[in-house]
Amino acid sequence: MFRKTLKVFVSAVLCLFASSGLAVEEDSAEWLSIVKEAQHQTVYFNAWGGEIRTNRYLEWLAGEVESRFGIHLQHVKLADTAQAVSRILAEKQAGNLNNGSVDMLWANGENFAALKQNNLLYGPWAESLPNFLLLDADQYPEMREDFTVPVEGYASPWLRAQLVFYYDSEYTQQPPGSMRKLLAWVKANPGEFIYPKPPDFLGTTFLKQAVLELSDDRALLYQPVSASHFEQATATLWEFLDELHPWLLRRGRYFPVSGAQLRRLVLDREIALAFSFNPHEVALGIASGELPTSSRSYVLDGGTISNVSFVSIAFNSPNKAAATVVANFLLSPVAQLRAQDSAYLGSMTVLSLNKLNKADRQKFLALELGSAAPRVEQLNRKLQEPHPSWMAAIEQAWLQRYITN
């Protein structure tokens, strides 16, 4: 009986907390009651499991939340995030509204948009997290937008990513600094470049980067797509691609399907120029033998697409309190420091260093980037993601144009 009353009370607090929209203090009664509710809950964190470093980071996370909060965290390793989306959908279809199998998930872009649009997410909750303040979201609007879709507290930031190019310095010393220069470079070095086929997200990112650079009216790309705008904004993109394809590896008759395959092609000396969505990837790839020691990375002159990745909670998760606590811990300086450290995850923090205390800030500044990584001032050249509706439209048009019967 008592347990039941407690449960009702706690879920009431959770609702109150969630709707307040203001970050609460870590020692406030509301937060403490959530932490208490979270104890002994099991959180199934559905996250892409394609990378050993991420998997190992999440193992560490599981140990931390276990010892700090008594939360059992289990990483459900996905080959494709859409699997989790399917799962939640199937549960909703069958009327499972309170006992879902996905608690937390790492989802972005199209996946996040689909979840949010179909009311498959719990929220709003993210802006009430105690650590939300460390993001300085007023200064960094990307903390509230996922591919221009307003997050509205339905997801909490986790990591930053940015498109960087890398090249084999044994083969070339002058990699191209823009899309136009890329075309000239590939003509001079036929077969030394290729991009993954959409809808792989890295391949689509390349197309978005190209359309942002080549389009006459960039502002159009930040609004939902419409038929007339699509023609107007992408005409230069198709011209560019038509000209580029005959010079690609295998002359455009084959496309790899992932960033991992790009790395393999560079290692095999099939291509000399490639790109990634993690600025630390080259340093990490050299360390693991996945990329040649002669690899170097850089950011295009006009800047490259950057985004923030988010974690969200399924609408029917039975362990929302624990998921909330885990999301908050992901934003703690200790978790973010480890995420940025290339000895562990080697990603980029979402925290605003100005919001940290001096000791924490020093720790972040002390992290080494390595000579293969792009310089910090290069990484300041950021472009925002276009509206996600463009992604689908460009993918569709790409298939239409380059696949024939």
Binding site: N46, E51, N55, A79, S86, S101, L267, Y402, I403, N405
Partner: protein, 568 residues
């Protein structure tokens, strides 16, 4: 006494209906869950009206005709080549040292999951692959790999090659299992006494008897080749890919409205697989007509040496390719830096294995439990229904075709439907649900490997036992089980291999919570380095290989002092 016999018979009577229901109900429900959305009905995402619009969308997808043709082509060409290679081999090498050597290797090779073999093959034949490295730059002058479209070629030839080298061991195992019932040695020696060369004698006297026994396994090969995803993803064309790959992509599209078209595509895939089967059966009629003419022609001259040569080279070559692919994976799993054109890694490391080991405990445990339980249940059901067939003296019911439904249907199709179904009953994803999902695929293969051997077992043995006063049960335990030990163990090994290698049922029914070696391997394959993938692919092959080794050696050890039980 009579009552007891009767009771046992009733219990056995249930085995085959239970087995069929177990398979047909979930598949049927899964199919229904696809049929409705294909015509527009899926309330959870706002589909309330019946419409053909999604079919129009599907046929408007760029390159759809080509995708269909690719699937169809793979479905027909793969079994044709694999069967020809197996028959030529058996014609030319039966009961030779080569034959014994090949038999020893064929089962372990069967244990290698399709994806692992495909991945190894890429690393053999790609422009930067092992073969090119062996001759570069000395012979070729390549210090960078040649820009050639060898893998992922537009006609799916590399994909078909990958499928063929994996199906050859399967068909060979099936052939070896059923062959002894045909008394091949007797048939061949009779033909030889009439003046035929040994290989031609085999093809004219044994092959026509063997083929009908292999028809069902061939149908399974056709279904698999036309609907497979893993090999097509790794070796298949990309512009556009096969229908199966595209359909999986649509099912996984974040835009949920794509589910309608995905469902329509799933039905289309089912149609394409069925079309491949029907074309095969029609082709069979034509081929058999010509074959009969050839057999009857009585021509004793020529052909034998050509058959002899092809038979003795093609199949061993295919096995060498798989072996080479595995070697490539093995080297890769210990390489730290291995750039083109080095034929061997420039530096070595054990790090990939060290990385893999700490996380292996749970996946290995789960894989073993699921494989053991599902194979045991499958074996009990299959043996039960076959034994009933024997004792009640009934012909095979045509309903047995239902068994192969799960192999004929694209997995993703009915599995998603099954998830919805399980959710209706609030069955939380757990180990039992996963085991149940595995049964759908393990039962047909166990049945496939065991049924012919069971049915063709010379009835005289049982009649002899009955004449000596043994009860049906005693005959079963003392006569049939020992005689069928080898095929039963092969069937078990096959079941374990299937269970250990399947991905979608584990992932979907376990909500990703039940990690097996295969789910780990597939997750890592989506972003891992070549070395990581190689390490996990080898791990993935290891467990089923143990099963096959047991199947190979247990009969040898048990029957070590019975010469008559050694072969077959």
């Amino acid at each position: 006494m009579a009552a007891e016999v009767y009771n046992k018979l009733t219990m056995l009577r249930w085995a085959s209906p239970v087995m069929l229901l177990l398979l047909a109900i979930p598949v049927g429900i899964g199919l229904l869950m696809v049929l409705l959305p294909a015509f527009g009905f899926m309330p959870a995402i706002g589909g309330y009206e019946f419409t053909l619009a999604h079919w129009r969308d599907l046929f408007g997808v760029p390159g759809i005709v080509r995708s269909i043709l690719l699937s169809l082509l793979a479905g027909i060409v793969t079994p044709a080549i694999a069967l020809a290679v197996v028959f030529l081999f058996m014609a030319s090498a039966s009961a030779t040292g080569l034959d014994r050597w090949v038999r020893r290797f064929v089962s372990p090779l069967l244990a290698i999951p399709h994806a692992a073999a495909a991945f190894g093959l890429v690393f053999m034949i790609a422009p930067a692959g092992l073969l090119a490295r062996l001759i570069s730059p000395d012979l070729t002058g390549w210090d960078r790999p040649a820009d050639l479209l060898i893998v992922n070629d537009s006609y799916g030839l590399a994909m078909i090659a990958g499928l063929v080298i994996k199906e050859i061991p399967f068909l060979l195992l099936v052939a070896i299992t059923v062959l002894p019932q045909l008394n091949p040695a007797q048939r061949v020696s009779m033909a030889r006494s009439l003046g035929y060369g040994p290989s031609v004698a085999w093809l004219k006297m044994v092959a026509p008897g063997l083929y009908p026994l292999m028809r069902l396994p061939l149908v399974a090969v056709i279904a698999f080749a036309s609907a497979n995803v893993d090999v097509a993803l790794i070796l298949g064309p990309t512009l556009p890919p096969t229908l199966s790959v595209r359909l999986l992509g649509w099912f996984g599209d974040p835009d949920l409205s794509m589910r309608f078209m995905a469902a329509a595509a799933a039905l289309l895939q089912l149609g394409v697989s069925l079309l491949a089967v029907v074309s095969w059966l029609l082709g069979e009629k034509m081929v058999s007509k010509f074959y009969r003419l050839w057999v009857r022609s009585g021509n004793r001259l020529g052909g034998d040496s050509a058959i002899f040569f092809l038979g003795r080279t093609l199949l061993p070559a295919a096995l060498v390719v798989i072996g080479g692919s595995m070697l490539a994976l093995f080297l890769s799993s210990f390489s730290l830096s291995w750039r083109f054109p080095h034929a061997l890694p420039a530096s070595w490391t054990v790090q990939h294995w060290v990385d893999a080991i700490p996380g292996m405990g749970t996946p290995v445990f789960n894989t073993l439990i699921i494989a053991a339980v599902s194979t045991t249940i499958a074996l009990v059901l299959v043996v039960g229904s076959l034994e009933f067939e024997q004792r009640s003296d009934r012909k095979q019911s045509s309903a047995m075709w239902l068994l192969y439904l799960p192999l004929l249907m694209p997995q993703v199709v009915f599995l998603f439907g099954m998830v919805v179904f399980a959710e209706f009953f609030y069955w939380q994803p757990n180990l039992w649900l996963v085991i149940f999902g595995h049964l759908l695929f393990v039962v047909p293969y166990v049945f496939l490997v065991l049924s012919e051997a069971y049915r063709r077992l010379d009835p005289h043995w049982s009649q002899l036992a009955a004449a000596l006063g043994a009860s049906p049960s005693k005959t079963f335990w003392r006569i049939r089980i020992p005689l069928l030990l080898a095929p039963a163990l092969s069937a078990m090994a096959m079941g374990i291999a299937i269970s250990a290698s399947i991905f979608l049922p584990t992932q979907l029914l376990g909500a990703g919570r039940i990690a097996t070696v295969t789910t780990e391997a597939i997750a890592l394959a989506s972003g891992g380095s070549r070395s990581t993938i190689a390490t996990w692919a080898l791990l993935q092959s290891l467990l089923p290989m143990l099963g096959f080794l047991v199947a190979l050696f247990v009969p040898k050890i048990l029957w070590r002092n019975r010469i008559g039980m050694q072969e077959g």
